[in-house]
């Protein structure tokens, strides 16, 4: 009898040595496994209804509102507080002390006392105090230019300028979305088994989607008009992201492994598809054209990044020819497509990887359930220092060659500023503070431990008794035996390290697109652009990969 849970066939996974390089991580695009996509599928499957429970917003758009929904049998509510922010206080940095909007995702339906408490604390953000029914804390700043334009247009009885909607893409951008116990909010473990919130960052993504819903309602309220649905759908929620996101990937190696492994397994399954149906072939071709249109609509002010996008547009014109339905009528055509683009840039390769997964939800969507970390780091100890040496050479060969005494290999250091504990990056030889460095220098540490390994094998515990400073390196090498995609295979303190690559990797897993780097350590993005609106959760709600502006 055939096993109904038979694992789909798959080609070999791309190696960690290929996948886990910073430059490739910095070329990633969202996929159908991205957390926002998974959440939208869940919301659509449940035909979730968003309720507007409270709307106490003045004509100018200030006050508070409560939206609620039921997901997986639990009620959740977004409490939104909108305030009048003087322009001189509007900064997206962690060091900000005031914002246009403050938000809490509440567990259940808040009563008057809950709302009063949140109204008093949410605008304070890090300086406020929160409780176990506050699941997520967030804040956002307006795109003042677009918000004013849209309200002006609506008041005049017109729709806003489509070009401006397309170029900006959001009415507000979040500048932090805090979860997992920060400032007293609920630990993730309190709700991580609830249906709909099991996946990584699911509660955060739900909050972001509801904030987007709030921004639409707010602009229509202030503008006293109704936005055309197509414009509204293209208005996502912006996000400003800095260095705080980068250490997460280093400090959560098991999660990083699980995200990458799920993604690579999805790609390997799709590459093993023997013969896509005519519908699949047509869909792949259409997605190739959509990607080209998306790239054409992706414009950023930074000349260097714009140049990269322009190169990708040109390269994509060539790559996309491989998706012609007739060319896909060969055995395992997607394996051939991926092999062919190996000669092209990492941007092309990662865009193609994301694309080929898109039509095969039945093969890969279940992998989204493997992206959490229910057990934590779980690896048996290595037998002795000989085993430690061998595993280091297997998994960290890339870390053993640099000379970390050279300025080029250790020129930067990560630290946390005493100014609101903002994560920052400094130049080791010209700035103060390197002695308080945040330990993201995994490569350097592994090499140092490797060099101190004794010639004669001893138990690892005996080695660590002599060298307690090597415990972190030993922990990472031990984990590498069980979690092959856990480690970014680059030197994160090198002068050439670009934190923006780490940000893009993580943000692509969230489902972000339209990366708009403001420096090598700071980016704006758009989330939920093209995502279904609250009244569109039904059939077809999942088709918004790399949205294009169709107004």
């Amino acid at each position: 009898m055939k096993d109904i849970f038979e694992t789909p066939a798959q080609m070999p996974l791309r190696s960690p040595g290929t996948v886990m390089r910073l430059s490739r991580m910095g070329s990633m695009f969202p996929t159908r496994l991205s957390f926002l996509r998974s959440l939208m599928r869940r919301l659509a499957a449940e035909r979730t209804q968003v309720r507007r429970d409270i709307w106490e917003i003045c004509e100018q758009g200030f006050g508070h509102a409560v939206f609620s929904l039921t997901l997986g049998g639990h009620d959740y509510a977004l409490v939104a507080v909108s305030t009048d922010l003087p322009p001189e206080l509007r900064t997206d940095r962690v060091i900000a002390t005031a914002w246009d909007g403050a938000f809490v995702l509440f567990d259940g339906i808040p009563d008057a006392a809950d709302i009063a408490r949140i109204k008093a604390n949410a605008p304070l953000q890090e300086a406020g105090r929160f409780g176990p029914r506050d699941l997520i804390l967030s804040r956002a700043n307006k795109s003042v230019r677009l918000f004013a334009h849209v309200t002006d247009a609506l008041r005049a009885g017109q729709q806003p300028d489509v070009q401006m909607i397309r170029d900006v893409g959001y009415l507000m951008r979040t500048t932090a979305v805090y979860g997992n116990g920060k400032f007293g909010i609920a630990d993730r473990a309190a709700y991580h088994e609830r249906p709909g919130l099991e996946g990584p960052f699911a509660a955060e993504m739900l909050t972001v989607w509801l904030i987007r819903h709030f921004t639409h309602a707010l602009v229509e309220h202030v503008g006293r008009g109704t936005l055309a649905p197509a414009l509204k759908r293209h208005l996502g929620i912006g996000n400003s992201t800095g260095l705080g996101m980068a250490p997460f990937l280093v400090n959560h190696p098991v999660l990083l492994n699980n995200w990458m492994l799920a993604r690579e397994t999805a790609l390997a399954r799709v590459r093993a598809v023997e013969a896509p149906t005519p519908e699949h072939r047509a869909r792949l071709c259409a997605l190739g054209a959509r990607a080209a249109k998306h790239l054409a609509q992706w414009s950023v002010p930074d000349p260097a990044h714009l140049g990269r996008i322009e190169t990708l547009r040109a390269d994509w014109e060539i790559a996309v020819r491989a998706l012609d339905p007739e060319k896909l009528a060969v055995p395992r055509p997607l394996d051939r497509v991926m092999s062919d683009v190996e000669q092209m840039s990492e941007d092309v390769q990662e865009l193609m990887a994301a694309l080929v997964m898109e039509p095969f939800g039945d093969l890969i969507d279940g992998l989204a359930e493997c992206m959490a970390d229910p057990y934590g780091a779980f690896a048996p100890p290595l037998r002795d220092t000989d085993a430690l040496r061998a595993q280091t050479e297997r998994a960290f060969e890339w870390a053993l060659t640099p000379d970390y005494a050279e300025a080029a290999a250790c020129g930067q250091f990560w630290y946390v500023s005493e100014a609101k504990m903002e994560p920052r990056l400094g130049m080791r030889f010209t700035e103060e503070g390197a002695e308080r460095e945040t330990p993201l220098d995994i490569a350097r540490r592994v090499q140092a431990a490797y060099r101190d390994l004794p010639a004669q094998a001893v138990p690892v515990s005996a080695f660590l008794a002599r060298h307690p400073e090597h415990a972190l390196a030993v922990e990472r090498v031990t984990l590498s035996a069980c979690y092959p995609y856990a480690e970014i295979r680059d030197n994160l303190i090198a002068q050439t390290c670009l934190p923006i690559d780490m940000l893009r990797c993580k943000l692509s897993f969230f489902g972000a697109a339209k990366f708009d780097p403001k420096s090598d350590r700071w980016t704006r993005i758009t989330l939920c652009q093209g995502a279904p609106l609250a009244d569109e959760l039904g059939e077809g709600a999942d088709d918004w990969w790399l949205p294009v502006f169709a107004a």
Binding site: S417, E418, R436, P439
Partner: protein, 162 residues
């Protein structure tokens, strides 16, 4: 004040690092401290462990458990429960990544093939004086503000009106 477990874990980790623990041992202590307090155990043993840095149980206990795990045969190890501050030792045992059990005659069993069950979440009522002591230790990791750091360290501007 009621705090989340993660909040306490992160603070205890930073406090241990600020007091001189290497990063891995500090992280382990952070998890131990949260578990210790969830179980309603005394804060004194945690504070004593921090005070003992750069020596003491924050460095020695992880080594003992690593040593026990190294001696496992077919994934199973049975050794006497390590000596040390009893409640702190118990908190360390409860935060090991593997399934563990203790017997009435003071033996510790570790099954390397089974992951530990995760602790059910509870809020932690951390005394204000303990919070303040840990906060001071954690602050040793923070780099003082400077103009260069403020303007270039985060890679973003100071104003975002668009």
């Amino acid at each position: 004040m009621s705090r989340s477990a993660n909040e306490v874990m992160v603070l205890a980790t930073k406090a241990a690092r600020g007091a001189g623990a290497p990063p891995a041992q500090a992280s382990q202590f952070g998890a131990v401290a949260a578990r210790h307090l969830i179980e309603g155990r005394e804060t004194a043993e945690l504070q004593a462990a921090l005070d003992a840095l750069p020596r003491g149980p924050i460095l020695s206990l992880p080594l003992i458990f690593t040593s026990i795990a190294e001696q496992a045969t077919r994934g199973s190890a049975m050794r006497p429960v390590p000596k040390g501050p009893a409640a702190l030792v118990l908190s360390y045992i409860e935060t090991l990544p593997w399934q563990t059990g203790t017997t009435h005659d003071g033996m510790l069993h570790i099954d390397l093939y089974k992951p530990a069950a995760r602790c059910s979440v509870m809020r932690i009522d951390l005394p204000d004086e303990v919070y303040e002591a840990w906060r001071v230790l954690a602050a040793r990791l923070l780099v003082p503000e400077s103009d260069a750091s403020r303007t270039s360290g985060a890679g973003a501007g100071l104003s975002d009106n668009d």
